[in-house]
């Protein structure tokens, strides 16, 4: 079986769900004949027709709201944000209408909002964002953010099958850089379960999305140069979080480094640190530390973007500090 990229894996998951369930349909800007800005939906229009792959006006509130209405009526819409940076334009209807629909009005709202996210691609301040933290305090939403092709396919399926609204973040840096053979069969990956990306005993790195790969690079380097055994936990699901997996790795290594691409202030590392404090404080032999982006809008020039975003070398240095602590 051939290797499949992260991007193709999303498309495959989408296609298989649309085949399986006639109530699944896609809507978004330029996703039809054109196949979307990154070609994630390429071919779906020809295969499923204009009624199941709908080009929308430039109206994120409009088509996210429309997705919610269709979902109430029993359909399972999948919205594409051309870049996830534009999900901010649907922030109100997502957090106020969609997230509360089941609780306040017993309205089912099974829908997915997906789109290309993240930096390291010279996209500048408005084509590189990681908005996940802005949705973390919205009960009613779920958030997933895969790092591998298999998880991308498995989680888009879970997201589509979930009976509530799932935000599915895709890291555009990984779209074509990450490939692997996909598992046979359905390959669905449950929401809410983290993935142990690498086993270790001296130190745990908890991370997700693109920085999973940087953490793995760092772990290899630390093993080679320092003889350190570093465990890497890929969260995959950000809401709900996999507390069991988090606690397990803390209790195992007693040292935790949290790595993410979002800004250090207000990023998800805060919530993780609080949970570790609450659930495994006594097992900590060192403070939980964060490696994340500097607190600035993400600049465009390579020299600037590389300085602002966390790099493998940063993880290595921070891990050494923690190990030596």
């Amino acid at each position: 079986m051939a290797e499949v990229t992260y991007l193709e894996a999303i498309r495959q998951g989408l296609t298989e769900e649309m085949e399986r369930d006639a109530s699944v349909f896609c809507l978004g800007e330029d996703i039809g004949k054109y196949g979307g800005a990154f070609k994630v939906t390429e071919g779906l229009f020809d295969r499923f027709g204009a009624d199941r792959v709908i080009d929308t006006p430039i109206s994120e509130t409009g088509f996210v709201g429309a997705a919610a209405g269709a979902a109430h009526m029993g359909l399972r819409p999948v919205c594409e944000m051309q870049f996830i940076d534009f999900v901010s334009c649907a922030y109100s209807i997502l957090t106020n209408y969609v997230a509360t629909a089941r609780y306040r009005a017993f309205l089912p709202c099974p829908m997915v909002v997906r789109g290309p996210s993240g930096g390291y691609v010279r996209g500048g301040p408005f084509h590189s964002q990681n908005p996940e933290a802005a949705f973390l305090h919205t009960p009613g939403l779920k958030i997933v953010y895969p790092a591998t092709a298999a998880d991308a396919r498995g989680l888009i399926k879970s997201a589509i099958r979930d009976d509530d609204c799932v935000l599915f973040f895709e890291h555009k840096y990984l779209y074509r850089r990450v490939k692997e053979e996909l598992p046979q069969g359905d390959g669905v990956v449950p929401i809410g379960k983290a993935r142990l990306a690498r086993e270790g005993k001296d130190l745990s790195i908890i991370t997700y999305a693109a920085t999973v790969w940087k953490a793995l690079e760092a772990a290899a380097e630390l093993e080679r140069d320092d003889g350190l055994s570093v465990e890497v936990l890929d969260l995959r699901s950000l809401l709900p979080l996999d507390d069991d997996a988090i606690v397990a790795t803390v209790k195992k290594t007693n040292r935790v480094l949290i790595v993410h691409e979002d800004t250090v202030t207000g990023g998800i590392a805060g919530e993780l640190t609080a949970r570790i404090n609450e659930l495994a404080f006594e097992w900590l032999d060192a403070p939980v530390r964060r490696v994340a982006a500097h607190d600035v809008p993400l600049p465009y020039a390579p020299q600037l973007e590389d300085f602002v975003l966390p790099q493998t070398s940063d993880i290595v240095r921070a891990a050494r500090w923690l190990a030596a602590y």
Partner: protein, 367 residues
């Protein structure tokens, strides 16, 4: 009777409303007004939790427009659409329990006033406070009808003020491009809270917005229940026939404040009295029924009496309803998990302490 009578005969045109249907329109308008008056009493007795919103003087456009829908059609009401919801099958008992935040209210005490719905059976959608959002939502509801080739229609209300929201614009434009079977009713009651319509929009006619979306726009007398029905019905028939959305502007007037606490200091002197004396939709319709349809006063009084009885019975039941069970607050945010855990410091303390037993090896603290 509510639900069934919500179904207007499939092919009826404005002309051929039967005498029974004409009386039914009166019934819904009277029920709306009497129920709101009862709510005012309960509000004064502080039995209503939170604010009370009136539709006094707007009963005709609410009732007339909703009456144009079939049972399978979906209605999206706003805060002034108590009448529309009653026509669509909401009951006074549900409304009273909801306002009193009872445990057996339609939202089990989770939402306020008439923020509730039923898409299983009677087909009206629970609104949220954020104005404009229901327009894209109803664009999607009706998109699903088009995609599934179902002969159903959706109706969404927006106030004059809500037409200023981006959500209204994005939603109606989406519906127009997708030719969704959606009717958008702009209830122009001359005010958005304290803001008169000319401070909301520089266009003299809000119906003129339709051209910018490439859909028909009409304007009518929202205090005339039959005209409200007729204009809406034409739009509903067009939508059902595949003709796409219509924007219907119904002119009316908000005689009470935005909510019960609002003293309307901003309203020019005499304006409210003028509307009350010259253009009350129930008075006008009573005259029409008498003059054109030979309805005698006794018939209307009999309806009024029946309405009072229904509202009295509903009030007794609602007052007797229990408050919600506190723990129910944690249920049903998600289908899975079905409920949120109670936080550790409530009844979780003991287990939390256990969870925190420290390995002997650890720390300098004595156990």
């Amino acid at each position: 009777m509510a639900a069934s009578s919500a179904t207007a005969p499939a092919r009826a045109s404005s002309a051929d409303l039967t005498r029974d249907q004409l009386l039914e329109l009166y019934y819904w308008m009277r029920l709306t007004r009497t129920l709101e008056e009862r709510l005012v009493n309960l509000y004064r007795q502080t039995k209503v939790v939170g604010g009370l919103f009136r539709s006094l003087g707007q009963e005709a456009c609410a009732v007339g427009s909703a009456y144009a829908l079939r049972r399978e059609d979906v209605l999206s009401p706003l805060i002034r659409n108590l009448g529309s919801m009653l026509v669509k099958g909401a009951t006074p008992l549900e409304v009273l329990r909801q306002y009193m935040a009872k445990g057996d209210s339609p939202t089990r005490g989770r939402e306020l006033n008439i923020h509730f719905g039923d898409v299983e059976d009677r087909n009206f959608v629970g609104q949220i406070s954020h104005l404009g959002d229901m327009v894209p939502v109803m664009a999607g509801v009706t998109l699903s009808f088009r995609l599934r080739r179902e002969p159903r229609v959706g109706l969404v209300y927006v106030g004059d003020g809500a037409t200023s929201t981006g959500a209204f614009h994005e939603g109606i434009n989406f519906a127009a491009v997708q030719r969704c079977p959606l009717v958008v009713i702009v209830e122009n009651n001359r005010y958005a809270y304290s803001t008169p319509t000319d401070r909301q929009c520089a266009a003299e006619r809000l119906a003129d917005k339709a051209a910018g979306y490439g859909i028909p726009g009409v304007r009518g007398d929202g205090n005339d229940v039959v005209e409200s029905y007729r204009l809406t019905r034409e739009a509903v028939d067009r939508a059902r026939a595949g003709g796409g959305p219509t924007l219907v502007e119904l002119m009316t007037y908000r005689r009470k404040g935005h909510a019960e606490h609002d003293n309307q200091s901003y309203v020019p002197a005499g304006e409210i009295d003028r509307w009350a004396s010259e253009n009350d939709p129930l008075d006008r319709y009573s005259r029409v029924l008498g003059e054109r349809h030979g309805v005698v006063a006794e018939e209307l009084e009999r309806i009024d009496t029946r309405v009072r009885g229904e509202v009295d019975r509903a009030t007794d039941l609602a007052e007797a309803s229990p408050p919600p069970e506190a723990r129910d607050a944690l249920a049903g945010v998600y289908a899975d998990p079905p409920a949120m855990p109670v936080l550790w410091y409530r009844d979780g303390i003991r287990s939390a302490v256990q969870a925190h037993e420290r390995p002997a090896s650890w720390g300098t603290h004595d156990g």
